[in-house]
Symmetry: C2
Subunit: 735 residues, 2 copies
């Protein structure tokens, strides 16, 4: 590198500015931004097209020819000179990419880390094909970010105090912004890429690396910027979004209050329109109404504050306002009070805090006004008449956040599974006799049962989340159905993360408890995922309510008789499934039949739905209030929602099997079988209780599940390696 | 306090030494030791008995009269003087315990914190009676320690760096030692109290307070001192134990190695007898043989090192040696290398490290020689002929440790349950309508199901652990049966702790994630409990092996026919239980019948035992090696061990119901019902699969369990308060 710097300094065809630029680009943390790259690609495409197609040149030669073509006459002279061309060729040589290798580079494109994927000769699985399939279209961006995170400047260490951890997270957030990652999801008219999918990929990949940085990134570029995008007008976008996406403006998302977390409708902060001063007065009426656990609360210069909007004595429900927290000197504005939430179980690199507002004036045009605004005569308008509907649209930002948190949870669970599986393939303990080698952990059936079904489930959740993301991106309406699916998968993925990381910690024994082995931080950081962006227990009930309301809509639309006929028909289907032969079938071909899996999971879901609907109907007839009826069915509804999510994941698995490359199909089918039998096993009490299976069948399922798990042992390491988590992200001495 | 100090300084009947003593005693962290208190009690009992029984005096007057009686003539003069007596009366007044109140104090004895136990008027339960019953004989010591831990000098704060946390833990360990807590379990001939029960109580109570201090205390006064006690000779006790018990000598317990944790028999460190120099050479043959995760490794001045003892080329298996780590100046001795294990998920106040020995010489008399010694002609002797038996005796120290870790895990789970239950009784979220108060968390059925069965289970584990402790203390032989029970309950209690603390964290929502609310530290600190002092997965298999070997012993002793007859008899009992009426019984009186509970839990255990025994027999007949046969049955064996522990806990519950005060019986019976039905519910797939119950019955059990849980809601707060965890230990803003 120092040779290159020396050369740059001596080439006399470069100006002082050129030199500064070129040297700055060689610093990996300040490499050219996405925008600069994009410009190069445009120029290269345009001028490169004019070169003779038959010529096969190296990079330097090509660059030189393009430069000559695109330069205006003033610069052409400089570029035409042989000295310049020779300097470029010399540089090519220094970099070790002279003609042959550089043309190979161009013709074969970049190979990145793909060589990692040939490690396991014992497995029949082509790990690279599986990896590429999992990566999908995002591979280039993902490889780019993986390589940034593997840079020495991103090396991690234990940061004991919140001060140093928070400073680090803010700093790294800045570096990511400089690379253009903060603008990905924002519209092009503020300099963004309009690419939510890429944004979600970055969030997921960061989760493999550091939880605090992930959340810090998500608070700034997701919650803060995207709530302005979703709830603000075009003028508001142009005013704030570029600065938010480049971290020139640090912001927070102030929704949760001490007294109201899950029940957002009950928020107590008020934004009262003051006609005389033509502004809103944002106010915290009591300490319990303070904004709580707000990420970026201490670094933040502005906040999107959710408050009850009161105009002329009438409350219009929860609305969001853009509120400045600091003046131009960076000092807190009058009426703003912040408190540090202090240390937490994890995520100590995120500056969570409390915000209190004491009659803070906010200009009228800072109400984020896409769905509701106050005009200059002080009258409230909204295109959406129903306050209820308006409320759910305001909360829409959370849906994207839930998908992101779900993938982040899954990503962390994958880290833990990678570490524990790799460890199980090399750690030995106890053996048949003193003079024989001890047994590998992965050879113990109990250890296989701890890890392998979880690997299979991770794949299933991954497919379901990818399917959900695609539907979410395509769906302009952000329908109730997708909201409900996001709620269900968020709850499932994050509970899965909690239990998986716990299991992996224990599966690594004492080593799992040591920070340098990479699991402890995952546990501490991911634990809150089951709570934030919607508490899982609340979300899972939201799913059940969605299913029930679809069901009652059917009642409403088609009348009771029609639904009753359908119920009868489905019941008779169940009777077919429940016939004497079926409930006792124990042969492997039946037990492994995907149709059996699908039907078994569907039976549990439908049966729970029908029984809970009938119970609700009975209670309502008994004149119980709907709240009381709901409370009586609460546990029943929670079971229903889980059954629904189980089935959704299996469906996504089966869809993946239809679309994946043939080489990887057998292994993925094997995983899908394990997932399905695991789900059926976990709920076999239900199947037995309702006569869907007999004991002989559930015993056969247990036996066959164990066999399938055992026979996936050989591929288990490849399956975790296919996720392509770089060592710089695993940060574990055990791998 | 400063008035008292002034007075002490002015009383001219005190010598300078008297003054220093008295003033030092007023410092709560340096209050008189147990030994001094014990002496006072002896003197007061002896001389107090001579006072006229009819007189009713205050404390000062009584003290003065006793002092006069017990003084020799030289001091009597001083005590006789009116001035002395008046000074005492004056002091009594300053302290606010003049005549009436001080005699009230004496006559009613101390009330300590008992007033805390009247808070819940809604509950019929007499919380104080329950608390006293749970405390048992240890109440005085426990109250004393509770009050010490509530002292401002024991106030806790977040300690971010391991350095400051470790310094604090060492310091507090010193204060506990100064109070005599380190000597409790040691024999009287080294200044101890010979009271293992009290030692275990201290360990358990400390766990309510701070995990790091608990483990630091346990490593020093438990593992280190007690291994010298159990494995050393009387001379060795006299040489080391008083200093170990007073922390004058800091030590560690160096058993685990990087390469061998669970498989202690495979340790690789060697202690080779060198005849020419009449000493042992302790050596780490490769880095993986280094001692790993050793608590006190950095502060320690000595270690009990477990190594393969080699004498004259013959290995005698694992033995323990007392090895000095430092010279008299406190510098590491030659050949000693230490490494810091760095940060961990929790317990960062414990200095875990690695120890490596490079040909370290250890004097012959430092082999802990109770069960094996090398005589001065260099010949190895042991009273125990079987190397196998000797090995298990060497590991005996671990059994007491396992009981302690189990209670510590349970104690931490109780903290979490107290916090989450208290929070559920005041936190509201969502409500029937906007203008009505929101619903308390504890009123949600799902929330009741999260917390209340766990409270019931905590009581059951507590009773089982107390029963085990009593048997352990009484049992000089430390039989296999107790070892197996300790293994099972250690695994159960610590897994219970992990899952309960997790559930409580989530049940407190975001608040549970904040350090100042007291749950995060419990989670981080207790997580390793499932791994250390025996990995739970290994321990639970030990239990199963114990059950199986008892079973095969029966085969061996009584012959196959006899056992077969018994099997048949038991099978016919099951058939009675499994008769058509029984398997369908759904009336509450049957479902709540303790005989049904006992039989159901017994059925699962016996049935699993028989089936695994038959499988093993079949595999052995098929000429599988015993290792392979075992591997095939591994998951089956694990289930057997869990079934056994479930039943042991129920048995302890039922025993407690027979012995507890009548006032608390109804509530405890209610808890026992919940525990039993919860266990049956969790395994209803098993009962259904084996035809022990039909679906109608398991449904009835689910319904009745939910009703019983709901009706315990009113007492749930009292049940957690009865544990008597002081606020200084809960350290939570949520209570």
């Amino acid at each position: 590198m120092s040779i290159i710097h020396d050369k740059i300094r001596t080439y006399d065809f470069l100006t002082e500015d050129d030199r500064k630029y070129l040297i700055s680009w060689t610093d990996p943390s300040r490499s050219p931004s996405q925008a600069v790259f994009a410009q190069w690609i445009r120029e290269i495409t345009r001028h490169g097209a004019e070169l003779p197609e038959a010529d096969r040149h190296g990079l330097a030669q090509l660059g030189w020819e393009i430069a000559v073509k695109m330069s205006d006459s003033g610069h052409k002279q400089k570029w035409m000179s042989e000295a310049t061309r020779d300097s470029l060729l010399e540089m090519e040589q220094i970099l070790g990419v002279e003609h042959d290798s550089s043309s190979a580079l161009i013709l074969n494109r970049f190979r990145t880390d793909d060589d990692n994927f040939q490690r396991d000769p014992s497995s029949q699985l082509d790990v690279k094909v599986l990896h590429d399939y999992l990566e999908g279209d995002g591979k280039v961006l993902r490889d780019q970010l993986r390589s940034l995170l593997s840079d020495p400047s991103f090396a991690t260490e234990y940061r004991a105090t919140k001060k140093e951890y928070r400073d680090w997270a803010l700093d790294k957030c800045g570096e990511l912004a400089q690379q253009g990652y903060g603008l990905l999801a924002l519209p092009d008219y503020v300099g963004g890429q309009d690419n939510m999918t890429d944004y979600a990929s970055v969030f997921e990949l960061l989760a493999h690396y550091d939880g605090s940085l992930t959340i810090k990134f998500g608070v700034q570029f997701g919650l803060f910027a995207l709530s302005i995008l979703n709830l603000g007008t075009r003028e508001q976008h142009e005013k704030y979004l570029n600065r938010a996406g480049t971290l020139a403006l640090k912001g927070c998302f102030a929704m949760t209050e001490t007294g109201h977390g899950s029940n957002v409708r009950g928020l107590e902060t008020t934004a009262t329109y003051d006609k005389s001063r033509d502004c809103f007065i944002v106010h915290t009426p009591r300490p319990q109404a303070g904004k709580e656990y707000i990420g970026n609360a201490l670094h933040g210069e502005a906040a999107v504050v959710f408050a009850q909007l009161i105009v002329d004595g009438t409350s219009h429900g929860v609305h969001a306002l853009y509120v400045d927290l600091v003046d131009s000197q960076g000092n807190d504005l009058p009426g703003i009070k912040r408190e540090d939430c202090g240390y937490k179980m994890g995520l100590n690199g995120v500056d969570n805090g409390r915000l209190y507002f004491d009659h803070v004036s906010v200009a009228r045009d800072q109400l984020l006004s896409r769905f509701g605004q106050v005009d200059n005569s002080g009258v409230y308008h909204s295109e959406i008449q129903s306050a209820n509907k308006r409320f759910f649209i305001m909360l829409g930002t959370l849906v994207g956040g839930r998908i992101c948190v779900a993938s982040a949870g899954l990503a962390m669970a994958k880290n833990a599974l990678h570490i524990a599986t790799a460890y199980a393939h090399k750690r030995r303990q106890f053996g048949p006799a003193d003079d024989e080698p001890e047994t590998l952990l992965i050879d113990y059936p109990s250890h296989q049962m701890r890890l392998i079904p979880k690997i299979a489930e991770a794949y299933g959740i991954d497919f379901a989340l990818k399917g959900l993301s695609e539907r979410y991106m395509d769906d302009e309406e952000k329908s109730k159905k997708i909201e409900s699916l996001a709620a269900g998968l968020k709850a499932r993925a994050t509970w899965f993360a909690t239990s998986t990381i716990q299991e992996c910690r224990e599966a690594c024994g004492g080593a799992g408890y040591i920070w340098e082995n990479g699991i402890t931080q995952l546990k501490a950081d991911s634990d809150i995922f089951t709570t934030f962006e919607g508490d899982n227990t609340v979300l899972i009930q939201l799913v059940a309510k969605g299913l029930l309301s679809d069901f009652s809509k059917e009642f409403h639309d088609d009348g009771f008789r029609a639904v009753f006929r359908r119920l009868m028909k489905q019941a008779s289907t169940s009777i077919t499934e429940k016939n004497v032969v079926n409930v006792r079938k124990t042969d492997a071909s039946h037990i492994l039949d995907p149709v059996f899996h699908r039907e078994a999971l569907r039976f549990r879901e439908k049966h729970l739905l029908h029984t809970v609907a009938l119970r609700m109907r009975r209670y309502i007839k008994q004149r119980l209030s709907s709240t009381d009826a709901f409370l009586r069915c609460q546990n029943h509804m929670i079971n229903l929602a889980h059954a629904y999510v189980d089935r959704v994941i299996l469906k996504a698995y089966h869809k993946a099997l239809e679309t994946c490359p043939l080489e990887i199909q057998p292994t993925l089918r094997h995983c899908a079988e394990i997932y399905a039998l695991d789900m059926i096993s976990r709920h076999k009490d239900y199947y037995l209780e309702h006569g869907y299976m007999e004991g002989s069948k559930t015993k056969a399922i247990r036996r066959i599940l164990r066999q399938r798990v055992q026979s996936l042992k050989g591929s288990s390491l490849s399956l975790v390696e296919a996720w392509g988590i770089p060592n710089s992200c695993l940060q574990s001495e055990l791998v």
